[in-house]
Symmetry: C2
Subunit: 147 residues, 2 copies
């Protein structure tokens, strides 16, 4: 009985735990990245765009596992701040984007701060739990890929 109750308790929910963990870790990274003016989501997005070269919204959506329409809006702050700019595209349906020089420069300045955040989390959790978490997340995402 109590086992059943425990499994049904809201806090036992896989989704709830993942979301809680994401919120908490997001806050930690946010503190480190604050001097750059970048949120962690913007940092990730900028990094992918810089690494991929000119890239379309749809391709980005695959890369970052985010809804296409979310990216349309997440790009706005980066465009407004001149970190990303539209790039030429052969297909007029497709809009492509690339990092500007300012964008690449800011990303490079943000990298060590991101590494500090990564290290703070690793220090708090210890190498074993960190590795376990990464492994569990990776294998989970593989299995959930086509749902």
């Amino acid at each position: 009985m109590s086992g059943q109750m425990l499994r049904l308790s809201p806090a036992a929910c896989t989704c709830f735990r993942l979301r809680s963990a994401a919120r908490r870790v997001t806050a930690i990274y946010g503190r480190h990245l604050a001097p750059t003016g970048l949120k962690i989501s913007q940092f990730s997005l900028l990094g992918f765009i810089a690494a991929e070269g000119p890239v379309s919204i749809g391709r980005l959506a695959e890369l970052v596992a985010t809804d296409r329409t979310t990216l349309t809006r997440n790009l706005r702050p980066l465009l407004n701040d001149g970190l990303v700019e539209p790039a030429a595209s052969g297909d007029r349906r497709r809009r492509e984007f690339a990092a500007t020089a300012a964008g690449r420069s800011l990303f490079k300045r943000a990298l060590p701060l991101w590494a500090d955040a990564e290290q703070e989390v690793r220090d708090a959790m210890g190498p074993k739990i960190t590795a376990d978490l990464h492994g569990a997340l990776d294998r989970s995402m593989e299995r959930l890929a086509d749902l």
Copy 2:
């Protein structure tokens, strides 16, 4: 060199992976809960309120590990839909909330759908990876509790 590049690649970020996983799993739960009109975050919040009885914003913020001010707004839809209502409070600074009969009823109807989502994720990941993920998340959250 390539190892260094890999570690610095945006996709290797703990925060990015957690957020991606949370998005993906959120979508799965959302599909199951859609017939109830509840988002997974609303389902969790309603569950906590129903389980705790009259509870303040501040207490809820601790329970669900969410910023206090976020909860102020997350409560709105639940209040508007008559699932949660204000409750008396001895301290006029504190606003307390409790689930209504409709709220408890809807939560009970949503529970099996939530269980279906939980099961779908478990089936996709398998019992071992599921247990590993839960364990890694639990231990991570413990270690990150006071950061």
